[in-house]
Assembly symmetry: C2
Homo-oligomer: 395 residues x 2
């Protein structure tokens, strides 16, 4: 690890570019992040089923954790008392914490939004809480992640009135968050909202870049719009962001979405997909996703993916994994998670190498010609369910 | 690993003796077992939550797996097709499979016992199965464990009529199992039943030792009798077993029971206790068992047991473990399991060293003076529930 510049701990160094796709490194107080990067999600201060040492051995550079969940349980004060999130969970690499805004709308009860913040009840015990831009920064400073997000509003992407209001509030709250933020060892990113409307995205991007954040997140995508709308929005918004700062596409995603976003200049991703589908028996392969519970694997002596170098594939057969899932054994969840995170990190490594060698678009085409995109229908259903659950009410 | 004697793969070498307590090594085709030994239980071809590599790094010499469970799911034919249990689960150390008789009585439905075997329905799908001494040996030969058990009957320990019948059947079935068994790379042990009745234990021990098994199990203990009855039974039965063969106390146990049994000459143990209580947040320490869910650990920065060298204690605080349990995170189950197996293996190591150095009884007294024996009441309730569940009917 290179010695950190104490005055400027967060620097994005561009190493190579291939069209809009960028390979670079973002330095943080807990080490560099090779970009484009994928951050596995550790909602409750643990990437589900894995130890920090396993994350390191899977070449994970950065993980994401959730402000909403950690605020409710165990509470930011306890984590601060135990030395902060890194020490609490024994992960010494970079961490990013989200703002909790998304979870308030997808999980919390009786939420109500006003100019100043959001009031809600915990989905765990019904207790009453209030998130303001300042309160969220206070929580995130106590948690102590390397990259932190300001409170934002993620609207229904094609409801113009709702999106206008979300951009207005998110922009205003970004100013307040920046003022409230005091830890120099944390990078507070700006979040560009704007749904699928190019003019609103531009308005948000121009407002936020004028505030000079050390990095920019693109929020409000992969939440109900079509893939085409998401890609078009990325094509419109990424060129508006400064080239010397990392661009983070929140909550994305699938291998195909990551490839399309990298092709448009995105540097950082996070998503529950590889870990969540793993726990349902969904395993990522170069040909697409398979479900290991399928009866056709009952006597299959092969690894999940022949040639895969992950621990699971080096050691265990599909037949054994299927048995573990059918028998409800926790080891199955672990081994599937290891394979899927390895798959994602390998994909990011391949992407970085391809950019370096000036053949990213060829790599992308080859990958996508082989990879069967799965569950379009299930994906659509999930998104609709999310919209209904959210019931975003803007006063 | 020493080169195996192909003609005599199973040899018990006595290395030291301290009173009745013995330190020795039992050789198997998959490596030597340092005794006294504790075998963690891997019911469904996995020691719950752990990988085989973790078991090795915890210095586990031998694991137990369950014939009843593996027969029902995935089935012995599939396991044989995948190369046997060792290859199936990727564990290259010694394995012991039980006979399944105990699970038939504690788990299966509509069981009926006759001279020739037991008919029952699967607790998973209601399918009909029949275990005879020969059928069980066939299953165990397909699984391919190093040490295998013949079908036996585990009676209510203080019901003389039931115990008499159990000894009679178990002895007769031992003869049939021995005749049916053909794999020279497996050691078929004899199982001594007899409840708490010294004369019936003697009858069983004399009958079985005459058959010259490569090892002897003591069955039907820790199933409802008092601790005093168990220890008295061990004092009566162990001296009847040959000194040049290992003695295996089935389904035991707690640290205190293991110490008392070693003091009476027992060499091998298995029990779900350390792994099962771990998954409920019960952690073994030199002072006794603690429950990590307790509110007093919410801000506790210490490891489970200061000075413990296990991975969990080297890396994580009680506060973090409590958080994982309260949040329902799988990593908590893993870390607790690692600690408890480490505790048991460390106890066995300490026992072996103490025997070697001629201070076993001093070690035992010191350990027990510090270790608070827990859950006597819970233990009693569990045993009563077991008796009721079994409803053993001997025709």
């Amino acid at each position: 690890m290179r010695p950190m510049n104490e005055k400027q701990p967060f620097v994005y160094e561009l190493h190579a570019q291939d069209g809009a796709a960028r390979r670079g490194v973002f330095t943080t107080p807990h080490g560099p992040i090779a970009m484009p990067a994928f951050a596995p999600v550790g909602t409750q201060a643990t990437v589900k089923t894995l130890t920090p040492d396993e994350l390191h051995s899977l070449d994970v550079d950065i993980i994401l954790s959730n402000t909403y969940h950690l605020h409710l349980r165990p509470g930011e004060d306890i984590i601060a008392e135990l030395g902060g999130l890194h020490q609490f969970m024994a992960w010494d690499g970079p961490i990013l914490t989200d703002s909790g805004g998304f979870q308030v709308f997808s999980l919390a009860h009786k939420r109500s939004l006003d100019e100043d913040g959001i009031t809600f009840r915990s989905h765990i015990d019904g207790s009453r809480h209030r998130f303001t831009p300042e309160a969220v920064i206070r929580i995130e400073e106590l948690l102590g992640a390397d990259i932190i997000m300001p409170l934002d509003i993620c609207p229904t992407p094609d409801n113009r009135r709702e999106v206008e209001r979300a951009v207005e509030l998110t922009n205003a709250w970004a100013v307040r968050a920046k003022q409230a933020h005091s830890r120099a060892d944390q990078a507070l990113f700006g979040i560009v909202q704007g749904g699928i409307f190019p003019d609103l995205r531009r308005q948000a991007a121009e407002f936020l870049t004028a505030l000079d954040f050390p990095g920019y997140a693109i929020g409000g995508l992969s939440v109900g719009e079509t893939k085409e709308e998401m890609y078009a929005t990325l094509s419109a918004v990424v060129p508006l962001l400064p080239a010397d700062k990392p661009r983070y596409l929140m909550g994305v995603g699938t291998p195909e979405d990551i490839l399309e976003a990298v092709a448009r200049g995105v540097d950082l991703f996070d998503c529950v997909l590889p870990t969540r589908v793993a726990r349902n028996g969904g395993l990522l392969t170069r040909e697409g996703r398979i479900n290991i519970r399928n009866a056709r694997f009952a006597r299959d002596p092969n690894p999940i993916e022949p040639g895969c170098t992950c621990y699971t594939c080096q050691r265990f057969s599909r037949a054994y994994l299927r048995h573990l899932f059918k028998a409800g054994e926790i080891l199955g969840l672990r081994l599937a998670t290891i394979h899927n995170i390895h798959f994602m990190e390998q994909l990011m490594k391949d992407i970085r190498t391809a950019i370096q060698e000036g053949r990213f678009y060829q790599f992308k085409d080859e990958f996508l010609s082989r990879y069967r995109i799965s569950d379009q229908e299930a994906r659509h259903k999930n998104k609709l369910a999310y919209r209904q659950r959210r019931g975003l009410q803007v006063r």
